[in-house]
Amino acid sequence: MKALFTERARAAGCSVEEDAAAELEADYGIAETGSLVLTPSPTRTRASWLEPEVLGAALPEERILPDLESLFAVLVEDMPSAVAIVTGPSRTKDIEQTLVVGLHGPREIRVCLRCREAPRS
């Protein structure tokens, strides 16, 4: 699961490290797509994963789920007000089909699988 997640998250443009600085902790990861799953809480805004130019996200290995179906099975009983499934940095190809990252959200996402520092949220 970890290997697949790492491969797919890198393909989507994230860096995946064992140890890196993290601003927040992802609720889940999805191996199939290399995505981070983020939800708001009384201590975390929806803007928090969109506003930093470089987003460091801790993702404890055991929170990596195999696919979208397994994520939805976990969520369905009690849907959070917002569930963001983030696959790579913010990107656009609207001008001349040229890839540009970081238009609205982060231009870089660093996923940290074994973060020793306590995330701030």
Binding site: A12, E69, P80
Partner: protein
């Protein structure tokens, strides 16, 4: 809505525009290649397409029940449902919500449903300022144009065009910095966020939005009110059934495993949360959809708005979105626009196709677009919308071919007439973009 003459006129201008031809050819080719790559790397794309088609068909068949479940779930989560029947009614509902909220600035995330109900015009007429936050859509808005592709609205614009629209130097860094600055100001100051919905999940009352830029996410985080304009057929019964549709949409639209920001919104902000809208309104639009469910056009409601059919259509790839209508374009638009508006008003669209079938092959849910286009053409004839010359020609032809003598006579005439036809009357118009095949010197039935 365009008329026959207009489609041809607009198309002719685009055909002469070398720059537009290049942009369309490369843009659609890259999108097509992206889809083919993504489909090839999927586990079993044919099984996925079949599953997607089955989910969509079953959902449409039982749409009323799913709509009731959805409405109940939205209400239970504190959202407000507004059911509307016509486009004007839907636009009026959104304007009403914005007025009640005392809104001045409305931020929008790209939505074809809002184009369909001409929401921007309605909001502006009511004195509100409207700003699109998807980059391509924002550029088109600055230029006073309509989106020309349902996924890549500014498909025909170059860096220079974009720079001109924003009033900056044609440098990508500069463009992005300016756009980011201006649009972030909109996220911060808009009173109302208006979005469409890629899907809506009945069992949970969730709205699913997908963007690669993340604009819908910022837009639904900061303003105090969120208004969703939902085409009634966007429903999916369960979250479990959403998963395959998301895979189909992402791979078919932009060649990805999953769109960068795939977001589910369920009700307004909850107690204790720091951001997110305090109010969530869902305006459900019918605008002719429910009338299609029991017709042979029902399958058109299966469309997931990925744009794959545009990217392979020989007519779209040459003429671009402008010639079709100001809403949907390409093969899906040629079918949907006449069905949602009055067929008579867009009678040129069913003819804007060579019926080659590339669209059906590209369609993730296998909608038989060429068959539907042919059915629409038949409807046009039945309603007497087809041109008189065309009707007379086909009446004479079918009569002539009901006799052996008539058949022989016309095939002989056709052989002789092949050279003459392009020179006179309707033959001249017809042959402008087409070539008659060469006839054999001897008919097959005469060869022994």
């Amino acid at each position: 809505m365009s008329t026959h003459a207009e489609f041809r006129e607009v198309a002719r201008d685009v055909l002469r525009d070398e720059h537009a031809q290049n942009a369309l050819a490369t843009g659609t080719a890259r999108l097509r290649e992206g889809r083919l790559r993504a489909w090839a790397s999927a586990d079993d794309i044919e099984a996925l397409r079949e599953r997607g088609r089955a989910i969509r068909t079953a959902t449409i068949r039982d749409l009323d029940r799913h709509l009731d479940t959805f409405a109940a779930a939205v209400t239970a989560r504190g959202g407000v449902i507004h059911r509307t029947s016509t486009a004007a009614e839907a636009a009026e509902a959104v304007v009403g919500i914005c007025r009640t909220a005392g809104a001045r600035l409305v931020g929008k995330s790209k939505s074809m449903a809002t184009e369909e109900i001409r929401l921007n015009q309605a909001l502006e007429a009511a004195g509100l300022e409207v700003v699109e936050t998807d980059l391509g859509e924002y550029l088109m808005q600055m230029r006073g144009e309509h989106p020309q592709h349902i996924v890549v609205p500014a498909i025909r614009l170059t860096r220079d065009d974009a720079a001109e629209a924003l009033g900056v130097a044609p440098d990508m860094e500069e463009l992005m910095r300016t756009a980011r600055q201006r649009l972030h100001e909109v996220f911060r100051t808009a009173d109302v966020a208006v979005t469409g919905a890629n899907f809506a999940v009945a069992e949970t009352g969730s709205i699913c939005l997908v963007t690669n830029e993340g604009n819908a996410d910022l837009l639904t985080a900061l303003p105090r009110m969120h208004v969703v304009v939902l085409g009634m057929e966007r429903l999916v019964p369960t979250l479990a059934e959403l998963a395959p549709l998301l895979r189909l949409l992402a791979s078919s639209a932009t060649g990805e495993r999953l769109t960068t920001y795939t977001t589910l919104i369920t009700g307004p902000r909850r107690t204790g949360e720091i951001d997110g809208p305090e109010e969530l309104h869902v305006v459900v639009i019918d605008n002719g959809r429910s009338a299609l469910r029991d017709t042979r056009y029902a399958e058109m409601l299966n469309c997931i708005r990925c744009g794959a059919c545009l990217n392979v259509c020989p007519v779209y790839r040459k003429t671009g979105g402008q010639a079709y209508s100001d809403i949907y374009s390409g093969p899906m638009g040629a079918v949907l626009v006449p069905l949602l508006s009055r067929l008579e008003r867009s009678h040129d669209l069913p003819h804007a196709s060579s019926l080659c079938g590339a669209c059906t092959e590209a369609c993730p849910v296998g909608i038989p677009l060429p068959e539907l286009l042919l059915d629409l053409r038949r409807d046009l004839v039945e309603r007497g919308v087809a041109s008189r010359v065309e009707r007379i020609a086909f009446t004479v032809w079918s009569y002539a071919w009901s006799f052996t003598v008539g058949y022989r006579l016309t095939t002989t005439l056709a052989r002789l007439g092949r050279r003459l036809a392009p020179l006179v009357g309707p033959g001249r118009v017809w042959s402008r973009g087409r070539e008659l095949p060469t006839f054999a010197r001897r008919r097959f039935r005469d060869r022994r």
